[in-house]
């Protein structure tokens, strides 16, 4: 999946913009998908392919900024805004909400293409992180209750003796559990394990 062709979504109510972008994007090697309204785009099921969204600010019904809010839970799909008449407040709002780029029509093709490039890279990174976390979560799910307790105390920096004292078990037993944890979580060192814990959000 990670190697699938990244998708570039285009939402613009103007047919000239849509079609010209479609050709440009395809020519650049991505897969364009165009929509003439925000609603039509929202009906499209999510993909796990790296992707980005080229979004016109001025749209009928639901405008670009509102659509940006609706899909705030999809950080794997960065947004590039394009607008006929960009003003500072709108730009600021869009950028603060995480937009990659804000381009005023007519824009140069290189600016757009590099923006798309950047957005796709971010999307890929994001997707990779998400994939990794998912596998780590799966591994974590395989730990027994005691192993999770031991892991939690170890990543907090407690010594085996201390962990044993905390949990009311012997140091030997702690060592055994710790070994299991390292193995199951595929951690090469304690530092690695701490990183994994951080990624999983196992709080202290």
């Amino acid at each position: 999946m990670a190697h699938a062709t990244p998708i570039v979504f285009v939402v613009d109510d103007d047919v000239s913009v849509r079609e010209s972008l479609e050709l440009l994007i395809r020519n650049a090697g991505w897969r364009p998908e165009t929509f003439e309204s925000a609603q039509a785009f929202l009906c499209r099921p999510r993909v796990l392919t790296p992707s980005c969204l080229i979004l016109d600010i001025a749209l009928p019904d639901l405008n670009g900024l509102e659509l940006q809010k609706r899909i705030a839970d999809r950080p794997d799909m960065p947004i590039i805004f394009i607008t006929g008449a960009g003003d500072v407040p709108t730009t600021v709002q869009a950028m603060k909400a995480g937009a990659v780029e804000f381009l005023t029509k007519p824009f140069s093709d290189t600016a757009l293409l590099s923006a798309i490039q950047l957005a796709i890279e971010r999307s890929e990174t994001r997707l990779q992180v998400e994939t990794e976390i998912k596998s780590l979560q799966a591994r974590y799910a395989h730990l027994s209750r005691r192993e999770r307790e031991v892991m939690g105390l170890v990543v907090r920096g407690l010594l085996n003796k201390q962990v044993g004292f905390e949990l009311g078990i012997s140091e030997i037993t702690v060592k055994a559990h710790r070994g299991q944890v390292m193995r199951k979580m595929d951690a090469r060192s304690l530092a690695d394990l701490v990183n994994i814990a951080a990624k999983l959000g196992i709080a202290r």
């Binding site: 000239s16 440009l24 757009l112």
Partner: protein
């Protein structure tokens, strides 16, 4: 109280108009007089046939009769003297003297009469003394009657001092006494030199014809004259009775001399009785008439007073110092709601119905009233029977004979107090209303040229309350820049305009500025004078709010214009940007396709096609926008441009006033109506007026004048011009001002005039600018009379 004590009645008794001297005789009085005269004639007629019959000598007759005559004549003379003293009529003095003389001369006559007091009469008296005294008695008396008749035409002079009348009376009495003494002397000591009247002392036989008939003839002549004079005057009761007196004197003389010249016969006695009757009658009549007159006057005055008491318009009481109310009228009873019984049984006391806090003051007044007899009207209160209080006004006076009693009048002030209260409240309301609304009122009368100002107006102008207001004083408050407004108003006043409605500013001594709105209306009174009534409202706050509102409105309008233009620009940009964006992207893609290692010719062809398509779309959008402007619907109608201009002017007045621009409109009378879009043309005019006003906002040192003219143009068209006295426009820029987005104003957009030109040209007219004559700029536009199809932009 009685009428006689009333000073009013005393005044009337001294009034000659009301006395029997000037009182015309009533019919009844005339009848009485005629009856008496007839009785006299009848008596003569009855006596005449028997006049010669001797009756024998009665020595007591003459003294008895003449004593009575003496008394009556004396009484009559005293009455007459007193009347003279009252009326100052010399005729009365003469008459009184006549009676006094008559009374006095009787004494020697009686004394000298032979056999009356002594056998030979008065000592030193001769045979002729008595008959001569008789004529010395009757002739002057007759003369006195004549004198009265002649002199009684003079006017009464009651104004003369009483002292001088007394002196006149004394002088007259002395004169009469002297005359009597002189005549007696002549008749006694000088009787030898007098012609003999009687030949025989006892029988009284006539001595000679001359001496016998001359005195009676003269006496009768004088009496007839007196009678005649009185007959022709005959306007008073007294005149009438004096005629009777004259008549009886004549009759007596006739009997004594002609019918029965001898003594002691029937005629002799009858004659003496006549003289007795005459003097008694006149005295009785005088007394009766005088008494009746006084009674009448008294009754009528009493009646008038009674009327006042009984009319019950004011309360009247008779009081005494002990607190009793001796009598009162119903009005007083009603006022204090007591019954008549309360007065008659003496239970009503003025001291007790006086509330305690007034009693001390009453004691002081009692002291005053005892000293002076009267007291000025004062206000106090009484308790009513039900315990409530009644405010009253009281005036009182004591009776002359008793300082302990008096009369008082009482007026109920309840209504007046209530009215006063209502008035006071109404004034308070008005004052409060004026304060709240910051409105003062004034009036000004053209005759007195006096201002009457309300308190609030003094506050608005910040003058000392009650200060004398003059035009000069008001002028000290005028704002220097508004003197032109005031001068205009003054000019209107001179021209007789009576309605005013204007606003101007006041400059207060502390440098603050007030805006006032003056509304006044004048009305002509019957003398043709004008009185103005008006209101002056302090509209400073209101005006400031107005100015702020206007400013806000102007700013808003400007904002709106900017916004709409911004929106329009954005819209145009957006509309054009879309295809433009497509074109650029397509072209870029095309280049990329052609520039690849293996050119994608099909793709390039496709993108090029799309480029063309998008370019066409952009062109379409542009032409659509043009069409949008060009096809703006014009709703045409026949428009009277003078009227349309007036509407615009009235809309702009406030702005003109705020900027102190004076407007002159020169409208052609024969302006043809033009078919056009009224609103659009008005917008053009409004725009030109605004521009002109703004152009003049920095003008100082010369009038900021705006002239709007309408005139006929060629082919039934109309030309409208707007001229300002602003700094003018550089001739090089006169045409540029119509370019869109050209502006000289810091806050202008520069589209107003271009829009104006568009509108005018849409109507088939022209809009252009030229330099003004000395300053400023003239913008003018034409509108053709016969409008064909409006041309598009």
């Amino acid at each position: 109280m009685t009428a006689a004590r009333d000073p009013m009645i005393a005044r009337e008794s001294t009034n000659a108009e009301a006395w029997l001297l000037n009182l015309p005789p009533t019919r009844q009085q005339t009848r009485w007089a005629v009856a008496v005269a007839l009785c006299q004639f009848a008596a003569i007629a009855l006596t005449a046939p028997f006049a010669g019959i001797p009756l024998g000598r009665m020595n007591g007759f003459i003294p008895a009769v003449e004593s009575v005559v003496f008394v009556t004549d004396l009484v009559t003379s005293v009455l007459l003297f007193s009347q003279f003293a009252a009326h100052r009529l010399n005729a009365l003095l003469v008459l009184a003297c006549g009676y006094l003389f008559s009374a006095l001369i009787i004494i020697p006559h009686a004394l000298s009469f032979p056999g009356a007091f002594s056998p030979v009469g008065l000592p030193g008296a001769g045979l002729q003394t008595t008959p001569w005294l008789y004529w010395f008695w009757h002739l002057p008396f007759a003369l006195a009657l004549l004198g009265y008749g002649i002199m009684s035409n003079e006017k009464s002079e009651p104004g003369l001092a009483r002292g001088s009348s007394l002196a006149s009376i004394v002088r007259s009495i002395v004169l009469v006494l002297a005359l009597v003494c002189g005549l007696v002397l002549v008749a006694t000591a000088g009787s030898a030199y007098l012609p003999a009247i009687f030949a025989d002392r006892t029988r009284g036989i006539p001595a000679n014809v001359f001496a016998d008939y001359l005195p009676p003839a003269i006496t009768i002549l004088v009496c007839l004259s007196a009678f005649a004079v009185l007959w022709f005057r005959r306007h008073s009761v007294l005149d009438q009775w004096l005629m009777i007196v004259a008549l009886s004197v004549i009759l007596e003389v006739v009997i004594v001399v002609f019918v029965s010249p001898k003594r002691f016969d029937v005629g002799f006695y009858a004659g003496r009785l006549f003289s007795l009757l005459t003097s008694t009658t006149i005295m009785i009549v005088l007394l009766m008439e005088t008494i009746r007159l006084y009674a009448n006057v008294a009754r009528s005055n009493e009646g008038k007073i009674r009327r006042l008491v009984d009319a019950n318009i004011i309360g009247v009481i008779i009081w005494d110092i002990e607190g009793r109310i001796i009598d009162c009228n119903d009005a007083f009873l009603r006022m204090i709601r007591y019954e008549r019984n309360d007065v008659t049984n003496g239970s009503l006391r003025w001291t007790e119905i006086t509330p305690p806090e007034w009693r001390a003051a009453d004691q002081h007044r009692l002291t005053d009233i005892r000293a002076s007899g009267t007291i000025q009207a004062f206000e106090k209160e009484y308790f009513r029977k039900d315990g409530t209080r009644v405010p009253v006004l009281i005036g009182a006076a004591t009776f002359d004979e008793s300082q302990d009693q008096g009369v008082a009048f009482i007026v109920d002030l309840t209504d007046r107090k209530r009215d006063a209260e209502a008035l006071r409240r109404s004034e308070a309301f008005l004052a409060k209303g004026q304060t709240l609304s910051q409105t003062g009122t004034f009036s000004w009368h053209s005759r007195t040229e006096k201002f009457i100002w309300s308190d609030e107006l003094y506050r608005i102008y910040e003058f000392e309350p009650g200060a004398n207001i003059t035009f000069e004083k008001i002028a000290t408050r005028y704002h220097p820049e508004d003197r032109a407004v005031i001068a205009g108003v003054a000019e209107q006043v001179r021209r007789g305009v009576i309605d005013f409605d204007y606003t101007h500013r006041l400059l207060m001594p502390n440098g603050s500025i007030k805006h006032i709105h003056v509304v006044a209306h004048g009305s002509h009174d019957k003398d043709g004078q004008v009185e103005y009534f008006g209101g002056v409202q302090d509209v400073t706050q209101h005006n400031l709010a107005d100015e702020a509102l206007n400013k806000a409105r102007t700013e808003l309008a400007h904002m709106a214009r900017v916004m709409s233009l911004g929106a329009l620009t954005a819209s145009i940009a957006h509309e054009v940007n879309q295809p433009l964006s497509g074109i650029i992207t397509n072209a870029s893609t095309c280049l990329r396709m052609l520039g690849a290692d293996s050119p994608n010719l099909d793709g390039a062809r496709e993108t090029t096609r799309r480029t063309i398509r998008d370019a066409n779309r952009a062109a379409e959008i542009i032409s659509r926008l043009r069409a949008l402007f060009a096809n703006q619907k014009i709703s045409t109608e026949m428009v009277d441009l003078n009227e349309a201009s007036r509407e615009v002017i009235s809309l702009s007045l406030r702005e003109l006033q705020t900027n102190r621009v004076t407007l002159r409109s020169e409208f052609a009378d024969d302006l043809p109506s033009i078919r056009c879009d009224r609103i659009q043309i008005q917008q053009v005019l409004l725009n030109l007026i605004r521009n002109a006003t703004e152009a003049m906002c920095d003008v100082d040192g010369r009038p900021r004048q705006l002239v709007i003219r309408t005139a006929k143009a060629a082919s039934e068209g109309v030309v409208i011009s707007v001229e300002d006295s602003g700094p003018g426009i550089d001739p090089a820029n006169l045409e540029r001002v119509f370019d869109a987005f050209y502006t000289t104003k810091t806050n202008g957009l520069g589209i107003g005039l271009s829009v104006c030109r568009t509108i005018v040209e849409t109507h088939g007219g022209k809009l252009w600018a030229t330099a003004g004559v000395s300053h400023g700029t003239i913008f003018q536009f034409t509108l053709p009379g016969v409008v064909g199809r409006p041309t598009n932009l």
